[in-house]
């Protein structure tokens, strides 16, 4: 049995719509799992049910083989870092970090030692007596992390913890959180709507959409083999296209004709959806390759995204900046891609 298991969790707020709809998950000890999804997808509600702040309408949560449904939040031994940190403004940094130990009746001397150790880990030893509001956003973040870790929780939950930070700080904190996770090995669930964050940090990613889990996978597998059109579109940039498998490994796009694709052996025939990453498309040398009409050019500096159409099918292409100089709107380009780049959504390979 896994360390933390969610069984058929549902949550509704009296209406017909489920905020969380039949979510089941198994998380192993020491894992770093990310809940990824747009706002309103149920990821935070699921997190709050694990923490005990929300009651599931139905379903069960078990931690280390023990059902924790009837356990109130203060007895669950689960650390939570909130989006806005929720540092107690009337307590110093050290008193904030020592709070959970005081609540557990830990002797004073031991509290001091453990607080000092955690503050050292988050590299804030010099700020023990500071007031939280005097610290920068990143520092407050680390205090919140230290506070949620000092009592050696069974699970650490982080609810969009980097949402309020600017981009550079966010990257720095991602590395920091991973380092602390490696050092302490605590089972961690991280909630975010930022797919890059999820890709760089996680052992596994759980993609939420509309209250349901769309896919659970390692970051690279998720990127390469999205199971649903939603995952294909949400994780990384993608072209999700309607196609037909006529049989015999031949894929056709409506209005375009057959295209290069290596299909898995279990691929069903009939209409299906395929995903083709914009960056996997190249300019072709020959004149018999498919023709792409450029309708718009977006320059990102290091790369250029061309928005246009393959026949009547809208398509996005991402080219390295050097390959895309001298392009103009209205131009017709010949394009190609490796047959492996075509992923049939819903198939295992």
């Amino acid at each position: 049995m896994s360390y933390l298991s969610l069984q058929n969790l549902r949550k509704d707020y009296g209406g017909k719509i489920f905020a969380v709809d039949d979510v089941s998950l198994a998380i192993e000890k020491g894992e770093f799992v990310t809940f990824l999804g747009p706002s309103g997808s149920g990821k935070t509600t699921t997190l709050m049910m694990i923490a005990g702040f929300e009651q599931p309408t139905s379903g069960h949560i078990a931690l280390a083989g023990r059902a924790i449904d009837p356990v109130p939040p203060h007895k669950r031994n689960i650390g939570v870092v909130f989006q806005n940190y929720a540092l107690f403004p009337h307590m110093s940094v050290a008193r904030n970090v020592g709070f959970p130990l005081r609540m557990r009746g830990v002797p004073k001397a031991e509290i001091a030692a453990r607080v000092a150790r955690l503050l050292a880990i988050v590299e804030l030893g010099a700020f023990a007596d500071a007031e939280p509001r005097r610290l920068s956003g990143g520092q407050q973040q680390r205090v919140a992390l230290a506070r949620a870790l000092v009592f050696e929780p069974d699970v650490l939950l982080l609810d969009e913890p980097l949402g309020a930070l600017d981009k550079n700080l966010r990257e720095q904190m991602q590395i920091e959180i991973r380092r602390i996770h490696r050092e302490l090995g605590v089972t961690t669930i991280y909630v975010t709507h930022d797919q890059t964050e999820a890709m760089t940090m996680s052992d596994r990613i759980v993609v939420f959409n509309g209250g349901k889990v769309e896919q659970v996978d390692a970051p690279l597998a998720l990127y390469r083999r999205p199971n649903t059109p939603f995952v294909a579109g949400f994780v990384g940039d993608n072209n999700v296209l309607d196609a037909t498998h006529a049989g015999g490994g031949r894929i056709e796009l409506p209005g375009v004709g057959p295209i290069a694709a290596a299909l898995p052996s279990d691929c069903p025939t009939g209409p299906l959806k395929i995903a083709l990453r914009p960056e996997s498309i190249r300019l072709a040398a020959g004149s018999d390759a498919p023709a792409f009409t450029v309708q718009g050019i977006v320059n990102y500096g290091d790369s250029v995204v061309l928005v246009g159409a393959l026949g009547t099918v809208p398509l996005k292409i991402r080219l390295p900046a050097v390959a895309a100089s001298n392009l103009t709107v209205g131009q017709i380009l010949r394009i190609e891609w490796s047959p492996d780049a075509v992923h049939v959504i819903g198939t295992a390979r």
């Binding site: 069984q7 058929n8 549902r10 039949d22 005990g52 009651q55 599931p56 309408t57 139905s58 379903g59 069960h60 449904d69 009837p70 356990v71 109130p72």
Partner: protein, 281 residues
């Protein structure tokens, strides 16, 4: 596995336990005495609706009701006329002067009705500054100002003015001043910009301020009793007199009920059109 009902660890019983004391308290010590007033108005000294007939039809009582409404209307109107420029200046000017003006208003608001009534007794008294001033201009002996409808109107206006200012200020503070600049850039003269833009935007403040002031005024006890004319009482003064002097609980209660019904009716109309939650700004 079929979904099963999980056991919530925090029953909503706790929410009820927290709410119940205040509810029970208000029922026992507010609603019940209020019901007592209603009950007395039809049972004291014997059952019947005679008191209501008397209160609504007797010319003497009708006079009191009309005087009360008239005075309250007057007070409300003057309050709007005085409060508007003050609130306008306060909202527009901001800064230190705005803060000082606001503080004066707030201080006046929090000064007891009694203290302010007493102040007007001094100001309008026969040896007060107004009389002295009139004497100096040759009006000797000066007119008797205290214990008239004039003095109670002045004092009530002064007492309720801060409330009107606060109601207006709450609305004016939210008016985006760029709107006026936009109007000017579109060719409006300052006056037409004020009349067509600022005034309509501030109108909700006038409505809610007037409602509060009028409702408070018709039920005001202390000031009219102390400073008003004994011959032109207002409803609340009459209610007090019935009890203190004549121990006529039935009549006093019937009048109190009429006052309550009028108050609730005005607020209900306000609620119907604007929503009571907007009344306090």
């Amino acid at each position: 596995m079929t979904p099963t009902k999980s056991t919530p660890h925090r029953p909503d019983r706790l929410a009820l336990i927290l709410l119940a004391p205040l509810l029970v308290f208000l029922v026992v010590f507010f609603l019940v005495p209020l019901g007592e007033v209603m009950w007395m108005s039809i049972t004291e000294p014997s059952f019947g609706f005679g008191h209501y007939g008397k209160v609504l039809l007797d010319p003497h009582y009708r006079r009191v009701v009309l005087d009360t409404l008239g005075t309250s209307l007057m007070v409300t109107t003057v309050c709007v006329l005085l409060a508007y420029p003050l609130a306008y200046v306060t909202a527009q000017i901001g800064g230190t002067i705005g803060a000082v003006l606001l503080m004066l208003v707030a201080m006046s608001f929090w000064t007891s009705f009694l203290v302010r009534t007493y102040a007007w007794m001094i100001i309008l008294g026969n040896r007060g500054p107004v009389s002295e001033l009139l004497k100096a201009t040759g009006w000797d002996p000066p007119p008797l100002m205290l214990f008239t409808r004039f003095s109670s109107t002045v004092a009530l206006t002064h007492i309720l003015l801060p409330i009107m200012v606060m109601a207006l200020y709450a609305v004016m503070r939210k008016i985006d001043l760029n709107i006026m600049k936009a109007a000017a850039s579109l060719g409006a003269t300052p006056f037409s910009a004020f009349r067509n833009i600022y005034f309509p935007l501030s109108a909700p403040g006038i409505v809610s301020g007037s409602t509060i002031v009028f409702v408070l005024c018709i039920g005001f006890y202390v000031t009219p009793v102390l400073i008003g004319s004994p011959r032109e009482q207002m409803i609340s003064g009459m209610i007090g007199a019935q009890i203190e002097e004549f121990l006529a609980f039935g009549e006093a209660s019937a009048m109190a009920m009429v006052l309550l019904v009028v108050t609730v009716a005005i607020l209900a109309v306000y609620h119907r059109f604007f929503g009571l939650d907007k009344l306090w700004g």
